[in-house]
């Protein structure tokens, strides 16, 4: 690091130039990571394409088959690039940041000046042509420097904003789509970057209604969120983005998503966000079927949605029994069971609600036997089963609640006493319920 050069104009500006050149010369770079200087030597020897995200932890040796490019320069200790992956030395970060920030700020300032000048000169002749060409150059500079800056500081809002400003003046769909690429690149090193995710939503909002392939873009967005969620567990920002997309999806896509990603969810049973995503999708099917009764096809459609919910219920039960003591699975069941009672069983009439509740009580009982050698997971399973029934009782309408409470008798208290006697809120809620109902 150049301590003697606090503003970093001399050597660092060439660092910035090299970084921008690398990005420019390989537009397919799709992953950025930071590498400790001690890892450079190892990387230069290495054949194959390691994943940058795993690089800081361990150097993975992959197969030699796809080796194409070589390191930027065998003696380069600042950048490393191969197979469209870019590594930046951790030692280069500070001087690079200073240079990128300076270059970004000054080019954006000039850009603004010129824009204002343009605004004032509308309708006048003069040197419009030369102005236009210098504007194009400045736009290019602003986009180049802001991208470099965002690869070093992912939530630098002013840099994201200036990109929005430049792009929205152009009204060109392709430029909007390019912004998705920049955001993906930033997310490759910072999957939780709030600004990078929000930039994507801005793009979707801007092009919705203006482009013909929105559905395909939404599909890609959903897949990207999934890919990132795979690597970065319980990533609220990624899943939140995915939930946000749902309101733009046509109904067919909502159902597709539910079916297509069921297996993935089954492999990630501790990921509450993933189950919440299903909650969001399932809620959409309710809004689309029952409440739009003027639809001609609504009868057939309702049957299809009903079937989907039934499958979800039995799938959830299988998971609960297979993976013992998983909170996310039980919370998900609270949701589907409650909606099933309210939107399906109750509407079907007869003894539908009753028999459904009987089934759930059976599930509760089957999950409350803790083996003698007391496994923690079984204790959790028993607690979740008991609180599941309590939750349903509290959420059902009053008559159903009283009936269920009578059926279950002292069983709930017994289980809670055994596995979590210290949870004050549960006892309070329990006695409250009794007091309310008796």
């Amino acid at each position: 690091m150049s301590e003697a050069d606090p503003f970093g104009y001399t050597e660092p500006s060439s660092l910035l130039y090299r970084l921008e050149f690398l990005l420019e010369s390989d537009p397919l770079i799709d992953e950025v990571g930071f590498i400790h200087p001690s890892q450079f030597a190892a990387l230069s020897d290495m054949s194959g394409s390691p994943s940058l995200s795993s690089m800081s932890m361990e150097l993975q040796l992959a197969d030699e088959s796809k080796l194409k490019a070589s390191p930027v320069n065998p003696t380069d200790m600042d950048f490393w690039s191969r197979d469209h992956k870019l590594g930046i030395s951790t030692q280069a970060i500070h001087p690079l940041y200073n240079a990128a920030k300076h270059a970004f700020s000054s080019s954006f300032k000039q850009y603004k000046l010129l824009i204002n000048l343009h605004a004032k000169r509308v309708g006048l002749d003069g040197d419009n042509v030369s102005n236009a060409s210098s504007l194009a150059t400045l736009e290019c500079e602003v986009m180049k420097h802001s991208r470099a800056l965002l690869l070093l500081s992912c939530d630098f809002g002013t840099a994201w904003n200036c990109r929005k400003e430049v792009v929205s003046k152009k009204q060109n769909i392709m430029l909007y789509l390019d912004e998705l690429v920049v955001s993906t690149l930033v997310l490759s090193y910072s999957p939780k970057s709030e600004r990078a995710w929000s930039h994507r939503r801005w793009v979707v909002k801007m092009i919705a209604g203006k482009c013909t392939n929105l559905q395909e873009i939404l599909k890609n967005e959903s897949e990207l969120a999934q890919r990132i969620a795979e690597k970065s567990k319980m990533n609220y920002r990624a899943w939140n983005h995915r939930c946000w997309l749902v309101s733009y999806m046509p109904e067919s896509q909502v159902i597709d998503e539910l079916i297509k990603y069921r297996d993935w969810a089954g492999l990630h049973v501790a990921d509450n966000s993933c189950f919440h995503y299903r909650t969001r999708l399932l809620t959409r099917t309710l809004a689309d079927s029952f409440y739009k009764q003027d639809l001609k096809a609504s009868h057939v459609h309702t049957a299809e949605v009903c079937q989907l919910w039934k499958e979800e219920l039995s799938w959830s039960k299988i998971l609960i029994k297979r993976y013992i003591g998983r909170e996310a699975l039980w919370l998900y069941r609270r949701f589907i069971a409650m909606c099933w009672i309210k939107h399906f069983a109750a509407r079907m009439g007869g003894t539908h609600v009753e028999s459904f509740v009987d089934n759930e009580l059976q599930l509760f009982r089957s999950c409350t036997t803790v083996p003698d050698n007391v496994f923690e997971d079984y204790q959790s399973q028993a607690m979740f089963a008991a609180t599941y029934i309590m939750w349903l009782i509290k959420q059902m309408d009053e008559r159903q609640g009283v009936e269920t409470r009578e059926k279950v008798g002292e069983e709930l208290e017994k289980v809670l006493n055994e596995v979590c006697p210290e949870k004050a809120f549960l006892w309070d809620l329990m006695t409250k319920k009794n007091g309310d109902l008796i």
Partner: protein, 312 residues
């Protein structure tokens, strides 16, 4: 478990302020004003705010103001409501809200309310219930809640309520303790807590307490000191704080201290930072830990500061 290393935490905060040219600090400059609010509020709760040069801080805060009236995270950065609230809170700590052009700041915030009552974070239109809280809290501190449509703002927040009793950032988004704090805080400030099913929400919040005594922010997540603040303040606002094991939570927070160099981390034995130091100390204050100033759960400012604003 030791006691709270109050002196050391104060020293740590003051030291971080001095190291603002370190690379870690430089890379975070876009939210420096949030950091200043966390650090200064911690110092105030610890009774050590006099150690700070007030004049210098106030003029730096004012240098972050944009011509639109909003504040950026540092000088020269674009304005956003998140930074605007921090600016107002810092000025409130020093009893200096009167240096603001209050109409200008409130116009900026009010201009970000949308037709459906929601708030955008800035002119680029991202919507989030956090921004609703920030806008409502800011305007309340400025005595300018009349500049927005409070009824619609409340209605939008309620539309983000989930079946589990919690709240997310937009309608249908997953419940998250941080978002719940924002929604409950905004409802508390506007006197709208009657829209909340307190037992149901309290239930969800209490399920955040894990075996170690710490609180997590969502199901299946590890406990983290910052949720001590978000979960606890929400429980206090809905009057259900007696439902959790406070003693165990105090122990969890104290276990996350660096007793040698000061500072608090997210979990025991992790690296400390200002963010978690603030939430740890603020959490202990809510738990009535001895020797700390009381903090207001909705405004996230010391109670005496809030009283100075509203009882004046």
């Amino acid at each position: 478990m030791g006691d709270l290393a109050a002196e050391k935490h104060a020293k740590y905060i003051l030291l971080v302020e001095k190291r603002k040219d370190d690379v870690e600090s430089v890379l975070m400059e876009h939210l420096r004003i949030n950091g200043a609010y966390w650090g200064l509020t911690t110092l105030d709760i610890l009774g050590k705010l006099e150690a700070v040069e007030q004049e210098r801080v106030v003029s730096w805060v004012m240098s972050c103001q944009h011509e639109s009236g909003g504040f950026g995270g540092s000088e020269g950065h674009d304005p956003h409501v998140l930074y605007t609230l921090s600016a107002i809170q810092i000025l409130a700590l020093f009893d200096k809200i009167d240096v603001l052009d209050i109409d200008k700041v409130s116009s900026y915030i009010a201009s970000l309310q949308n037709e459906d009552g929601s708030f955008s974070g800035d002119i680029w239109g991202e919507i989030d219930t956090r921004f609703s809280y920030v806008a409502i809290c800011s305007l309340a501190l400025l005595h300018r809640l009349d500049r927005i449509n409070v009824e619609k703002a409340v209605k939008y927040i309620i539309s983000c309520k989930n079946l589990d009793g919690g709240f997310g950032c937009t309608p249908g988004a997953e419940s998250h303790a941080g978002q719940i704090f924002c929604c409950i805080g905004a409802l508390a400030i506007t006197g709208s807590l009657h829209y909340v099913d307190k037992d149901l929400l309290g239930w969800w919040l209490c399920e955040r307490q894990v075996k170690s005594g710490g609180l997590n922010g969502r199901p299946e997540k590890l406990p983290d000191v910052c949720y001590s603040w978000w979960v606890l303040s929400s429980l206090i606002m809905i009057d259900r704080v007696h439902w959790i094991d406070k003693e165990k939570l105090v122990k969890f927070i104290l276990d996350c201290q660096d007793t040698e160099n000061g500072g608090i981390s997210d979990r025991p034995d992790d690296a400390v930072d200002v963010f978690h130091t603030y939430f740890g100390v603020a959490g202990l204050s809510l738990l009535e830990y001895p020797g700390l100033k009381a903090i207001d759960p909705a405004y996230a400012l010391p109670v005496d500061v809030v009283n100075r604003i509203f009882l004046r």
